[in-house]
Point group: C2
Chain length 393, copies 2
């Protein structure tokens, strides 16, 4: 033990020093941080206790594989099974991963203590160093730290955001709502043409909903479409929240959708392209990502609706052939994969939708409705679908 302590000191002194910021956190934030801290401490003290008892320290990491993922029909959500894999310290194949897990856990603990957050890239750098007495680095690249961090999330049952680690932020929002973000009151009704930029971490410790008159949420796929809806003041005319996720929505966007759906009781309508990519985005918003099923219980919006674009719209809206983008082989096989997802497989309307798209032989983008009129989508298409209750579930 003595030797280990000495070599540890060789590491650059400031490397893991994290000065504590002046605390400006509310009670909710402090409570979450305390709970997450306690889980990290338990993880560490279990290892210490095992070591002191002269046994091989280990971690039981829930298995993040498809075979350990199932669709819970009654909760309408993806969930992880109970399979775990044991990660031992005294095993040549596992020692490195064990070390990395401890390193990342310790890194997150110091972030929470310092009341600071860090990007995934930043976390990689924070935990990267040469292992004393060797030429080996703690991490080969960021994909290693990202993976270990996901293990850590499922092992202690905390979201990455609760571990104070964030990814790229994406997505903008406007609408009939006032929020508090990091202590600032923000009136989302007065955000001009730019909008409020959705943060990476939208946990109740950061974002609180102060006042909301909106009746529903319209989620659009692309920021260019969002700009069209915002310019036409759609959210004002139809009393809603308007947001986009910049394509595949980030965790911040998904978590915010979930929180607004759950806490404010707002239905979520998704306006996405009529193509496998649009269907997949809907699937992720609704059920969660298959690879990261453990997030679903905190991020999925099982009652989100798919408002369009629908494969029947080509005839129904009398579109010209200008809107057609031919499906390629990859689209076709992707569409068939998606049709087999458990929540689509037993849904007759979705089976018909995907079948119709395949028999059409083409995709259609939301923006193609501009061939009718610039504001057809905001003034006719979406209002008509909403009024008729015409969507897929």
């Amino acid at each position: 033990m003595a030797k280990k302590k000495t070599t540890t000191k060789k590491r650059p002194a400031k490397k893991h020093a994290t000065k504590k910021a002046p605390s400006s956190k509310g009670p909710a934030a402090r409570k979450t941080d305390k709970a997450t801290s306690a889980r990290l401490e338990k993880l560490a003290s279990d290892v210490v206790r095992t070591s002191m008892a002269h046994r091989d320290p280990f971690l039981d990491v829930p298995t993040r594989t498809l075979s350990n993922t199932s669709y819970n029909k009654s909760r309408r959500m993806l969930q992880m099974g109970s399979a775990t894999a044991r990660r031992n310290l005294f095993d040549l194949k596992m020692a490195r991963k064990f070390m990395q897990s401890m390193l990342l856990a310790s890194g997150c603990k110091s972030l929470i203590d310092a009341e600071k957050t860090l990007s995934l890239r930043g976390m990689y750098y924070k935990c990267l160093h040469t292992i004393p007495g060797t030429k080996e680095k703690t991490l080969d690249d960021q994909s290693e730290s990202d993976g270990v961090l996901e293990d850590l999330e499922v092992t202690i049952g905390s979201l990455r955001e609760e571990l104070h680690v964030y990814a790229d932020k994406r997505g903008d929002l406007v609408g009939n709502m006032t929020i508090i973000d990091a202590g600032d009151e923000i009136d989302l009704r007065r955000m001009g043409s730019g909008g409020y930029s959705i943060p990476s971490i939208v946990e109740p410790s950061v974002i609180q909903f102060k006042k909301c008159e909106a009746d529903f949420i319209l989620h659009v796929e692309k920021n260019t479409v969002w700009q069209r809806f915002n310019e036409d003041k759609f959210w004002k005319k139809h009393n809603c929240i308007l947001l986009h996720g910049g394509g595949q929505p980030s965790r911040g966007v998904r978590r915010l959708l979930r929180r607004m759906n759950e806490e404010l009781g707002l239905p979520v309508y998704c306006l996405l392209d009529c193509d496998p990519w649009g269907h997949y985005i809907y699937s992720v918003i609704k059920q969660g990502s298959i690879n990261l099923a453990y997030e679903s219980q905190r991020m999925a919006v099982p009652d989100a609706k798919f408002l369009g674009i629908r494969a029947i719209d080509y005839e129904r809206c009398e579109l010209s052939d200008d809107v057609q983008i031919a499906l390629n082989d990859r689209d076709t096989s992707r569409a068939k994969q998606i049709a087999d997802y458990p929540w689509f497989a037993q849904n007759r309307a979705w089976q018909l939708e995907i079948k119709k798209m395949l028999s059409n032989g083409f995709k259609m983008e939301v923006e193609s409705l501009i061939t009718k009129d610039i504001s057809y989508v905001t003034e006719t298409y979406v209002p008509e679908r909403l009024a008729a209750g015409d969507w897929l579930d």
Copy 2:
């Protein structure tokens, strides 16, 4: 002429109909729109006049090539030369491009009349149709309409944004400033952790600066770094505007930097990676893009400063080898290309900087400073460089 009119009627009736929005525009916006409209009308009336005189209608399009681009040393800016290419209607090779130019010009005119804006993708759909009496489409794909739109910009001397066409929006902003955006007053001092999302179109007709106490602008490359600076309230402590451009900054971000620099007199400091990509981003902010030199006079910030990361920082900041990312062959050749840009070629400090990076043999990211401490970059690195006036010009 009679026949042409008849076939034209066959096009879907609503195709180019653009209902006018209730006018909410201020005098500045109306003035710009009027000027742009007048230029588009002149373009059209010249064609009509030539036709009526039984001559071949043409457009003289300034040449957007490297050979027609030069660096104006005294203005410290890229500028286009006077070379133009004539585009005739009665020429088999040019007729299609001529038709597309008229089509896009007419599309922009109808956008301005309707007081609406549209994305590049939307503009493609708006102008796409089958040419009556043929099976030919007006456009093969969006790259055609994008290119013709750039021709149109240089031909009539209006920015794309003035033609009411926008691209993806990117970039967030916070800081000691109040702006008006589309009539909404936005206090950028109270934007929480998310920030204000920078719109695509930031012309004076949309964005006005109401009140600004800030002393300077800090532009960072990535949104993850921006989040670190915002969390540490850097902009509050150092009285500045903090923004990022999500990598290569969008036109909206560049135009906003230029306007804040010019109209508010704020110096612009760029915190970018020590790699050819970071150097290129700086070059675009400072001088404009070589391929789109005509934008420079409205977008370039010739006195923008490069604050870091610098190649000497590895020694100067006593960084560990954890920060090193080996330069690959592509980086090396790109670095040499950039060193030859006219504004770098005659700048001794920049020649030394690139030489030092090449002799180091590695790149460094802003985020790698986290190996010192989470907030080293916000609390030590940037404040020390600013205090010492230590940057590249």
